[in-house]
Amino acid sequence: MALNLKVNIARPDDFYEELIHMQRDLSEDDVQLMNAKLILILSNHIGDQETLSEAIRVARG
């Protein structure tokens, strides 16, 4: 499974709003913790190690 870097989110503005909104009233600490959880939850959902490794490399830039 190759990492999909093409458009894949059907309603990008909705998604982005939801993400930002969910963190609006959190402390900096809680935001960091939530982000870490989100990465872990999504990583588990993807599961495939190669895809995860590729995503980690892309994110690091």
């Binding site: 960091q32 870490a36 939850i41 588990n44």
Partner: protein, 540 residues
């Protein structure tokens, strides 16, 4: 402090050679009479090798050292006839609990597979193990010369031997050895004397160890806390040992002052907070430590071999120190015997480094990973660590990510040059390079264990019809045939399942109970080639 244990004092005896100022050449000199050195002495003696063991002290391990002994090292001790004593005195356990802040995050069960003679894990104070080993060593007065208060102060390697300068209460004298096994611990002097590199990662953290005696009825489980309310932002561990002694371990941080931290007025409130006020206990031992994960560059320097902490040092999470060290000896002794007897070439000894450095690297990797989880290096990894722990309370997926120490398991020598690669397909775990799984069997109708049947030489385990020959020999080394259903009964079928033993299957098993090769048919030519390979001989 209270002592549940009285340290034996072994007598210093001046050796004849020192008394007479003669320089004597010994076949094998072992430096260090700790867990590893004493086990090496026993393994050598049982193979008929005479050894001299030198120790700079005159008692067993003092203070809190190794606690957990895993199945494979217990099997090695069982081959040497001393495991029963350890298992009887030790505490068997299977359950572990991991807490995050005030809550239980999850529980694990080591779930030991049925049908193994040895338990998955026992806890036992190191001084007991060493005391039992010394008792056993003294049963070989003709083969093991155990010398207390003998400190090696320098050495010189020659092509055919090593000369050692040794200091005793009577002064300095010289002795020589054909072969030397350095088991002189993490601060190995021998390692410095050969100018070996000992590199790796140091961790900027300190841990306080307290062994306490208490009758409180905590269960016999391993309890690990991340960021507990009684010790904010740190980790803590509670684990039972023998004689109602409990091991407590507190992460203290890099800034902790070792002198201050170990004062009773600082330690006791910390322990009370963990155990609950009103729990009565006595302190047996308190010390503070920091650790490193590192290994020696070469396990072999000419005629000197390094084993145990002298060769590799790991973090305590996962009980990988002593357990790995014992497997070093298991790997070394049979090879040394064959080379000393002229049955195998010197090159076989190089496989000691090849196999055990591979295992050490695996241990170091696991140990470093546990440490990175337990003591996150920066804020970001701390968030990830806490995220894993919080998620693990609710969701299965996060539990395998929790790392409070991956408990020691043997590292298969999957890429060893002594292995013969499979030509056929096999199910199960017994690939070449893997340590043999135990199984219950019957010999002449009586209950027995497979590993006990192997003995200390090469073996050919055959399933199905017994072959026409009783052994295969190459270069003076024989592998004796043992056929299931003929030499013993696999009544429960567990052995056959674990080895995927369809009729005709044959395993070549090394003296350290590792698989060297396996075939689906008894082909003497192929088996001979595998035996040659497993003993470092080039087939003619």
């Amino acid at each position: 402090m209270l002592n549940t244990y009285t340290w034996p004092e072994y007598p210093y005896i001046q050796s004849e050679e020192q008394k007479n100022s003669t320089v004597k050449r010994h076949p094998v000199v072992i430096i260090g009479a700790g867990l590893i050195g004493l086990t090496a002495a026993l393994d050598c003696a049982q193979r008929g090798i005479a050894v001299v063991v030198l120790d700079d002290n005159n008692t067993v391990s003092i203070g809190s050292r190794a606690v957990c002994y895993a199945k494979r090292p217990l099997e090695i001790w069982d081959r040497l006839g001393i495991a029963d004593k350890m298992v009887q005195k030790g505490i068997s356990w299977n359950l572990g609990k991991v807490f995050f802040k005030e809550d239980l995050a999850y529980e694990f069960d080591l779930l030991p597979e049925e049908g193994h003679k040895m338990p998955a894990m026992i806890n036992l104070q190191q001084y007991y193990c060493e005391e039992y080993l010394v008792e056993e060593v003294l049963k070989y007065p003709d083969l093991i010369d155990l010398r207390w208060k003998h400190k090696v102060i320098s050495l010189a390697q020659h092509e055919a031997y090593t000369s050692l300068q040794v200091e005793t209460p009577d002064g300095v004298f010289s002795l020589e050895s054909d072969w030397t096994i350095a088991c002189d611990g993490a601060n190995s002097g021998v390692r410095d004397m050969v100018h070996a590199e000992f590199t790796g990662q140091f961790f900027q953290d300190r841990f306080l160890i307290a062994d306490v005696v208490m009758k409180a009825d905590f269960p016999t489980e391993r309890w690990f806390w991340f960021d507990p309310t009684f010790h904010k932002n740190q980790s803590a561990l509670l684990h039972k040992q023998s004689d109602d002694v409990w091991r407590l371990d507190f992460q203290m941080g890099w800034d902790a002052d070792p002198k201050e931290a170990t004062k009773p007025e600082n330690v006791i409130p910390l322990i009370q907070a963990m155990l609950g006020h009103g729990t009565e206990f006595d302190l047996e031992w308190v010390s503070i430590y920091q650790f490193a994960c590192r290994r020696i560059d070469k396990f072999r320097y000419g005629r000197i071999f390094f084993a145990g902490d002298a060769a590799h040092q790991v973090s305590p999470f996962g009980a990988r120190g002593a357990n790995t060290g014992l497997q070093d000896i298991d790997n070394l002794a049979w090879k040394l015997k064959m080379v000393m007897d002229g049955q195998a070439p010197d090159g076989l000894m190089d496989s000691y480094h090849e196999e055990r450095a591979f295992a050490a690297d695996d241990n170091l990797m696991n140990s470093t990973r546990s440490t990175d989880f337990i003591t996150p290096k920066n804020r970001a990894s701390r968030y990830f660590r806490d995220a894993v722990l919080e998620l693990s309370k609710k969701y299965d997926f996060a539990r395998p990510l929790v790392n409070s120490g991956r408990l020691s398991t043997p590292t298969p020598y999957l890429h060893s040059s002594l292995n013969t690669a499979d030509e056929d397909d096999f199910a199960g775990k017994m690939a070449p390079g893997t340590n043999c799984a135990d199984a219950p069997i019957r010999v002449a109708g009586k209950k027995a264990w497979f590993l006990n049947l192997l003995g200390d030489g090469f073996r050919l385990l055959v399933f199905g019809e017994a072959p026409a020959v009783s052994e295969i020999t190459y270069g003076g080394i024989s592998a004796k045939v043992m056929t299931a259903g003929n030499d013993f009964e696999d009544k429960d079928g567990l052995l056959t399942t674990r080895y995927d033993g369809a009729d005709g299957t044959v395993y070549l098993i090394r003296p350290d109970a590792h698989v060297a090769a396996r075939f689906r048919a008894f082909d003497p030519a192929k088996i001979t080639a595998a035996l040659a390979r497993a003993t470092g001989q080039k087939e003619e």
